[in-house]
C-alpha cells in the first residue's frame, strides 16, 4: 500500500494530460505567457518529456503591453531550455489587419490577443494548444473540459461539450478545428505556489515585493506605464507591491506586499480574503459573463 501526496497526484495527472496531447496530435503548441501558471506547465513538460525535446514549441502572444520583466524572464528560460519559441505580435496583427485599437484610460489589448492567437494557430497549423488555465480561477473556466474542442473560429460552445470520462481524452477533431488542453485544470492558486516552492522554480521578479510607481484606481493599483492614460487628478505614489498574476500592464493590478520569498507569498495567499482574479484583473469586471463571452470568441 502506498499513499501519494495530493501535489504529486496533481503533477502526475498534468504529466499524463501533456503526454496525451503529444500522443494524439500532429502539431501541438504550448501557450506561454510568462506567468506562474505557464511557467509551471514548462516544468511539467520537462518532467513529461526529458531527456527528449518537447514535442511542441512555446508560443507567446506578445501584446506589446507586457511587463519587461516577464519578457526578460521568457527569453532567459527559453535559452536555458533549448526549446523553440514562437512569438505572435499583437502589434503586427493590428497593423496588418487594420484592427481598431481600444481607447480609454486602461485601453487593454486583451481582446485583440485572440486575433493574433488564431492567426498563429492557422499559420503554423497547430491542432492543439496547451494552456495554463485553472478551473478555480473563474466560474466559466470551472465548467470547461480538460480537452476543450474549439471550432474553426476558435470558439467554445459551453452547451456542446464532449463527455470526458475517467482519464480518457478524446482529441479527435475535424480539419480546421483545434483543441485547447489544460493540464493544470484541477490545480488551485495555492497548489501552484506550493508546487513552485517544492520544485524551487525561478519566477519573474515582479512576483516578489518591489517598489513601483502606481496609480490608485477604484481600490486597485495599476503600474504607471506608457500604456495607460494619466489624468491630472489621478493619485500616483510609490508603493511596495508584488503581482499575484501576470497579464498586460494595462489590465493587471498589483497588491501591496512586503513578501520577498515564496514562503512569505504563500502565507499572504493563505490569509487573503480576495480571489486571484478579483484582486488583480481589471478585465474581468466588465460583466458577469465576461470570461464566458471571451472564451466563446476564441480566447484561450
Amino acid at each position: 500500500m502506498h499513499t501519494i501526496e495530493y501535489l504529486d497526484q496533481l503533477e502526475s495527472e498534468a504529466i499524463h494530460i501533456m503526454r496525451e496531447v503529444a500522443g494524439q496530435f500532429e502539431k501541438p503548441a504550448l501557450l506561454f505567457s510568462g506567468g506562474k501558471d505557464s511557467i509551471t506547465l514548462v516544468r511539467i513538460a520537462e518532467k513529461a518529456f526529458r531527456p527528449g525535446k518537447f514535442p511542441f514549441p512555446l508560443v507567446h502572444i506578445d501584446t506589446g503591453h507586457n511587463f519587461p520583466e516577464a519578457i526578460e524572464y521568457r527569453d532567459r528560460l527559453v535559452n536555458q531550455l533549448g526549446e523553440k519559441l514562437i512569438v505572435g505580435s499583437v502589434e503586427e496583427t493590428i497593423r496588418e489587419k487594420g484592427l481598431t485599437v481600444p481607447v480609454g484610460k486602461f485601453a487593454s489589448r486583451n481582446a485583440l490577443q485572440t486575433f493574433t492567437l488564431l492567426d498563429i494557430i492557422e499559420k503554423h497549423g497547430f491542432d492543439a494548444c496547451i494552456g495554463g488555465a485553472r478551473r478555480d480561477e473563474e466560474k466559466a473556466r470551472a465548467k470547461e473540459r480538460i480537452f476543450s474542442v474549439r471550432n474553426e473560429f476558435g470558439q467554445w460552445d459551453p452547451k456542446l461539450q464532449r463527455p470526458e470520462l475517467w482519464n480518457i481524452y478524446n482529441g479527435r477533431i475535424h480539419k480546421g478545428e483545434n483543441v485547447r488542453a489544460f493540464p493544470i485544470s484541477n490545480w488551485t492558486e495555492l497548489d501552484v505556489w506550493n508546487y513552485i516552492r517544492k520544485e524551487k522554480i525561478d519566477l519573474p521578479s515582479i512576483y516578489f515585493s518591489h517598489e513601483r510607481l502606481c496609480l490608485s484606481y477604484q481600490e486597485q493599483l495599476v503600474a504607471v506605464s506608457p500604456f495607460i492614460t494619466i489624468d491630472e487628478d489621478d493619485e500616483i505614489s510609490m508603493k511596495r507591491v508584488r503581482y499575484r498574476t501576470v497579464g498586460d500592464m494595462t489590465c493587471t493590478a498589483a497588491v501591496e506586499s512586503n513578501a520577498t520569498t515564496i514562503d512569505e507569498i504563500i502565507n499572504e495567499i493563505i490569509a487573503t480574503k480576495t480571489s486571484e482574479r478579483g484582486e488583480t484583473r481589471i478585465d474581468d469586471k466588465v460583466s458577469e459573463a465576461a470570461m464566458e463571452d471571451r472564451k466563446k470568441n476564441g480566447y484561450f
Binding site: M1, H2, T3, I4, E5, Y6, D8, Q9, L10, E11, S12, E13, I15, H16, R19, E20, A22, G23, E46, K47, A48, F49, R50, P51, G52, K53, P55, R135, D136, E138, K139, A140, R141, A142, K143, P158, K159, Q161, R162, P163, E164, L165, W166, N167, I168, N170, R172, I173, S185, N186, T188, T272, K273, T274, S275, G278, E279, E288, A289, E292
Partner: protein, 413 residues
C-alpha cells in the same frame, strides 16, 4: 494531505448547488469579491438571503434558467483533506454530464428533497453511481427545515432508499438529514435534529477511508508516448512514457508487452527525470527495457505472471450519450486508455429501466442516457480487465468517427 474527489447529484430544485455553496461558504473557501458578486445578483430576489447556487452556475444560460447544465468543478480544503468537487446537473437531458463527473469520483452525495422522497432521478443517479463503481455513497436528505426536522420523514426515505441500494448492490451508504439553505448538519451538527446520531456532512467527507480505491495487485502500464532524444549521447535511449494505472513495478521485473506478447525486463524507471527502483499506481513514469523491441502508443506493459485478458469480444455495460440513437451493427472507435480500435456494437442484450431496475430484453431503440448491456467486437485484440476489479483497464469510450463526438461510456464486465 490526501485528495478526495466527490460528486453531488440530485434533481432539479433539490438544492444541490446551494449545498455546495454552503460547503464552500462554511469552509471559508469563498472570497469576499465572489460573495459581493453574488450578493449583487441576488439583490433583486425577494427573500433577501444570498443565493449560494450562483457560485457554481457559471454559465449565462444556467443563471438565466436557474438550473445546472454542465459539471462545475470546485476546490476546497480543510486542515484534514483537499477536495475536488464536481457539481453535476440534475436534469435528465444532461445526465451524460453527470456521468462525466461521476467517472472520477471516490464519493457521491445523492441529494433527496425531504418533501418528495426517492424519485426517478434519484434512482437514475444511483444506477450511475453503482455502474461507475463509486465506492462511497452519502444520501443527503435535504430541506429538513421544510418538514419540521421530522425524524419520521427521514426514516421513511431511508427505508425506501435502502431497497434501491440493495437492488443495486450499493455498499457503504451513509444517510444524513440536512438543510443546505440553513446549514444544518453541514459543518456543525444541527440543534434541530437531536435524534440524528451521525456526524456532520463535512466530518464524513473528511474521514471517509480511501484505501479501497486503488488496485495494487494487477500491474498495468499503458504506453502514451515514446521518448527518443536521438542525440549523440543518448543515441539508444528509448523511454516508454505513461502513467501506471494499477499495481506496482520494480526494476528487474519480467514484463510482457500487449497485445503483441513481446517479452523483456524493466531496466530503469524514471519519475520526472530521476531514476527510482520502484513505482506504483497513479505515478507518471518512464520505463526503459533491456531489449530493443517494437513498442508504441496504445501498447500496454504488464508483468509476465499477471496478465489482463486479451480479446476481441467484450461484454459491456454501456451508457449511451448521443442524441442519435444506437443501433446494433453500428461501428465506432473504442478508446481504452491510449489505445483506439475500430469496433462494432454487435448485440444489445437488455436495457435497464431506471424506475423498476427491470431488464428489458432486446430493446427496439437505445436513446440518449439509456443504460444497456451489450457485446462489442473489436477489429484488433485489446488487453482488458473487468471494470469492477480494475477501473482503468476496464473502461472505454465510444467515439463516432463521423462527428468525432464521444457517444458512449463502456464498463467491461
Amino acid at each position: 494531505m490526501d485528495l478526495l474527489r466527490l460528486i453531488t447529484a440530485g434533481s432539479v430544485d433539490d438544492g444541490k448547488s446551494t449545498l455546495i455553496g454552503r460547503l464552500l461558504y462554511d469552509s471559508k473557501s469563498i472570497m469576499i469579491d465572489q460573495l459581493e458578486a453574488i450578493e449583487k445578483q441576488t439583490k433583486n430576489k425577494e427573500n433577501g438571503s444570498i443565493d449560494l447556487a450562483l457560485l457554481t452556475d457559471g454559465l449565462r444560460a444556467e443563471r438565466e434558467q436557474g438550473i445546472t447544465i454542465d459539471i462545475a468543478y470546485k476546490y476546497f480544503s480543510t486542515p484534514k483533506r483537499k477536495f475536488i468537487l464536481a457539481d453535476a446537473p440534475g436534469h435528465i437531458q444532461y445526465t451524460r454530464n453527470m456521468v462525466t463527473g461521476a467517472s472520477n469520483a471516490d464519493l457521491a452525495i445523492i441529494l433527496i428533497d425531504a418533501r418528495k422522497g426517492v424519485i426517478e432521478q434519484t434512482k437514475r443517479h444511483s444506477i450511475i453511481a453503482s455502474m461507475l463503481g463509486i465506492k462511497h455513497i452519502v444520501v443527503a436528505i435535504n430541506k429538513m427545515d421544510l418538514v419540521n426536522f421530522s425524524q419520521d420523514v427521514f426514516t421513511n426515505i431511508l427505508l425506501d432508499y435502502t431497497k434501491t441500494a440493495s437492488e443495486l448492490g450499493l455498499k457503504n451508504v451513509i444517510y444524513i438529514p440536512i438543510s443546505a439553505l440553513q446549514g444544518d448538519n453541514i459543518v456543525e451538527k444541527s440543534v434541530f435534529m437531536p435524534w440524528y446520531d451521525g456526524e456532520s456532512l463535512l466530518h464524513i467527507l473528511e474521514n471517509v477511508k480511501l484505501d479501497s480505491e486503488v488496485n495494487w495487485n494487477d500491474a498495468r502500464f499503458p504506453v502514451q508516448y515514446v521518448i527518443r532524444p536521438q542525440t549523440l549521447a543518448l543515441h539508444d535511449y528509448r523511454g516508454y512514457a505513461g502513467k501506471i494505472t494499477s499495481g506496482t513495478y520494480k526494476v528487474g521485473d519480467k514484463i510482457t508487452v500487449l497485445p503483441a506478447g513481446l517479452e523483456s525486463t524493466l531496466k530503469t524507471i524514471e519519475i520526472g527525470g530521476k531514476q527510482v527502483t520502484e513505482a506504483f499506481a497513479s505515478q507518471s513514469v518512464t520505463f526503459q527495457l533491456t531489449d530493443d523491441i517494437d513498442i508504441s502508443r496504445g501498447d500496454i506493459i504488464v508483468k509476465q505472471e499477471n496478465q489482463p485478458l486479451l480479446t476481441q469480444d467484450l461484454e459491456v455495460l454501456l451508457c449511451w450519450m448521443d442524441a442519435k440513437p444506437l443501433k446494433a451493427g453500428n461501428k465506432y472507435l473504442l478508446q481504452i486508455n491510449s489505445r483506439a480500435v475500430k469496433s462494432v456494437v454487435k448485440n444489445i442484450e437488455y436495457k435497464l429501466d431506471v424506475n423498476t431496475l427491470e431488464k428489458l430484453r432486446s430493446p427496439e431503440n437505445v436513446g440518449l442516457n439509456d443504460v444497456i448491456k451489450a457485446t462489442i467486437r473489436t477489429a484488433l485484440p485489446v488487453a482488458v480487465d473487468s471494470y469492477p476489479i480494475n477501473k482503468s483497464t476496464g473502461s472505454g469510450i465510444l467515439i463516432d468517427e463521423t462527428s468525432n463526438a464521444t457517444v458512449g461510456a463502456c464498463m467491461i464486465q
